[in-house]
Symmetry: C2
Subunit: 409 residues, 2 copies
């Protein structure tokens, strides 16, 4: 909402000669701008909390991808009309011994604290959202909605009853697993393959707790077996908070058409990811990966990422990009996935979860400021305002209401 | 610091005739004002975080004791020259079954979050302090210091290794127990008396962890046996963060002279409490206590304490005060305890922990705005500026440095 009609459009409207040849295009653009401005626009996987602990990083400042690898901040939320979404407590999967589990427990609570402190520090611009109805209320009050999600249930491994603590402190979505297996479930990308052939007993118990409390269960990163079992067992519809199409690019993180149909048939929603290597075939390059390690090492140590270290990291990144260039997906590739998934699932079961600050962003849609381009393309494809509203956020909120209704049993 | 010399003093200084008869008194007053303004003034037991969750309550607003039972806020910190101190994560001792322990765990994390959110929301006025040296740095930057303490270790009962989580999130003082026994130690006021005759095995392990991490161990509320054992076992000096003198009023919460001497001999510090019923003999009145239950019931449910419910609670309180009046300690009673303890422990081992927002406050020192009166009285008693500096905060910081040095082993 509130992304203003661009100056170019206004100029064009004032120039009848220019209008003559471009009226249809301009009309789609203006119509999209207006739909986008009216809609509640929510993304279900914002990894931005990773940046909150960086010294001197402030969400109220304008940042750029090139300068600091940052994709979301308040000024660009305004530009892109992003009203909020789910802000993730992501925990890297570490060792699964007791020390590793305690480390994950502490990292999760720290990240939760980071999110709540960000909101407390900017309470005129952000507000914690707890129920589906909160989003519109918060936006009407001139603020952005901060739903809290967890990506990887490892912070709960020492004591799964901590899920209740997190719920009490605002958690409303639970992603079971990340890039490798944990105590609860198999991951889609575990190097050694399956461990439980889906859910473990602890995972089944956690799913029941999430249903009972009223947390959306998120299956992005889950293995196909985990997906199938959760779809079978869950008492409420589930989400894929940031996933792309396996039919278009057979990456193990992507979801196949049959499973998309099963998810939709049960009332679920798939939110489409924009990570380039999920969208297009990307050759493995071990040398590049190795070189990138030294980049990630700096970037991921948020608490010590001074502006100097950040500049050093970005220099390394741009050097690696020159030395080992990778194909980079475009906005058109993103739209191919989104449009394909809409066709398979139906427009009532799709949304946006572009993995901002977690690897998302493509040529032509570098950060959230470009979100109105998605709406424009959906208008061009002939989708109605009601359908587009659903994709931009309404479908997610419908799912959330179903999860709320199923809770407490 | 920064409490200005009062207008009356300035007027008096301009009037030679007035000066003639009162020069000594005025001089002590002015000297005290100036000492107080220069000193770091820290209180070691602020229960103010109890109020942070009250709807509409804001620490930046000026409140009064009469209107809302509030003793500490930013405007009165400025008035009273209070630079900060330890802000408590207090947890009422509930049931000790698994459900009760989880409730305590959740309450502790919620209160920690409340404290950190308050600081985030007012980061130009408050800052989290982690080390002894932080207090002066924070005050020099024009802010107030927020050290975090825990009163009652029950939030750690499900998993004592959560102490590391709390430490990572800013905890620097640990009070083992509250008004009744918990899994770690015996309380001074447990209705059924001792359970472990001091520390439990879990309590001894927790003490070792606190020493290792560098947390100040707080023995207010501990039974005498707990006190004796901790004093024996602790590798660092310990604190009584809010205790009064047993010699002056034999209440079980108060500490006897022999133990004060033992504490001081080991480098510890006793911070003097201002709860009326600890300072003077106060008859038990079961009818009043019962009537007060309905007051506490409303007051303690912070999250739902709307201004209307608060006014209702205060009406009940004032009715109870009329129907069942209790003797109320005065500023002079407070000073009797403080001066006695200074004589017993030595001025290097005493400080202020007046239990603000936790029951503290006496006639003539109703809230923190009155703190300069303590300094004035200490000047009148002939204590030096160095000694007074110690009592107002320096002794605490020395203890904290010793705890920091002993950590890591």
């Amino acid at each position: 909402m509130r992304s203003s009609v661009s100056f170019a459009v206004l100029l064009a409207c004032l120039s009848p000669s220019a209008l003559a040849g471009q009226s249809e295009k301009i009309s789609a653009h203006a119509q999209a701008q207006s739909i986008h401005a009216r809609a509640l626009v929510l993304d279900t996987h914002l990894d931005t909390p990773l940046l909150f602990a960086r010294p001197g990083w402030d969400i109220m400042d304008r940042h750029t991808v090139d300068a600091d690898f940052s994709y979301v901040d308040y000024p660009r939320m305004v530009d892109g009309g992003l009203d909020g979404g789910f802000w993730a407590i992501w925990t890297a999967q570490g060792e699964r011994d007791l020390a590793g589990k305690r480390k994950a427990r502490d990292a999760g609570l720290r990240r939760l604290m980071d999110i709540r402190e960000m909101v407390a520090a900017h309470r005129n611009h952000f507000e914690i959202a707890l129920r589906a109805d909160d989003a519109q209320r918060i936006v009407n009050a001139g603020k952005r909605a901060v739903y809290i999600s967890m990506e990887n249930a490892s912070p709960l491994a020492t004591d799964p009853s901590l899920l209740e603590t997190y719920y009490a402190l605002g958690l409303r979505m639970l992603g079971l697993v990340h890039s490798s297996n944990n105590d609860f479930a198999d991951s889609a990308t575990n190097p050694e393959g399956a461990e439980f052939k889906g859910l473990s007993d602890k995972g089944r118990a956690l799913l029941a707790d999430a249903n009972r409390l009223g947390l959306i269960v998120d299956l992005s990163h889950s293995s196909n077996d985990t997906f199938d079992q959760v779809l079978e067992l869950s008492r409420a519809p589930v989400i894929l908070s940031h996933s792309a199409s396996h039919a278009l690019n057979p990456h193990p993180r992507n979801i196949d058409d049959a499973r998309i149909r099963k998810l939709a048939a049960k009332g679920g929603v798939i939110q489409v990811n924009s990570v380039s290597s999920f969208l297009i075939e990307t050759p493995k390059n071990a040398e590049r990966d190795k070189a990138m390690d030294s980049f990630w090492e700096i970037i991921e140590d948020s608490a010590r990422l001074t502006p100097e270290r950040q500049r050093e990291a970005m220099r390394r990144y741009h050097d690696i990009e020159k030395q080992y260039p990778l194909p980079m997906a475009t906005f058109n590739d993103y739209m191919k996935h989104l449009l394909h998934i809409i066709k398979v699932a139906g427009p009532e079961h799709v949304g946006l979860g572009a993995d901002w600050d977690g690897g998302g962003g493509v040529k032509g849609m570098e950060d959230i400021a470009s979100l109105p381009k998605i709406t424009e393309r959906l208008v061009q494809e002939g989708y109605s305002e009601a359908q587009i509203d659903g994709i931009l956020g309404g479908n997610l909120l419908r799912l959330m209401r179903q999860v709320e209704s199923a809770a407490g049993h």
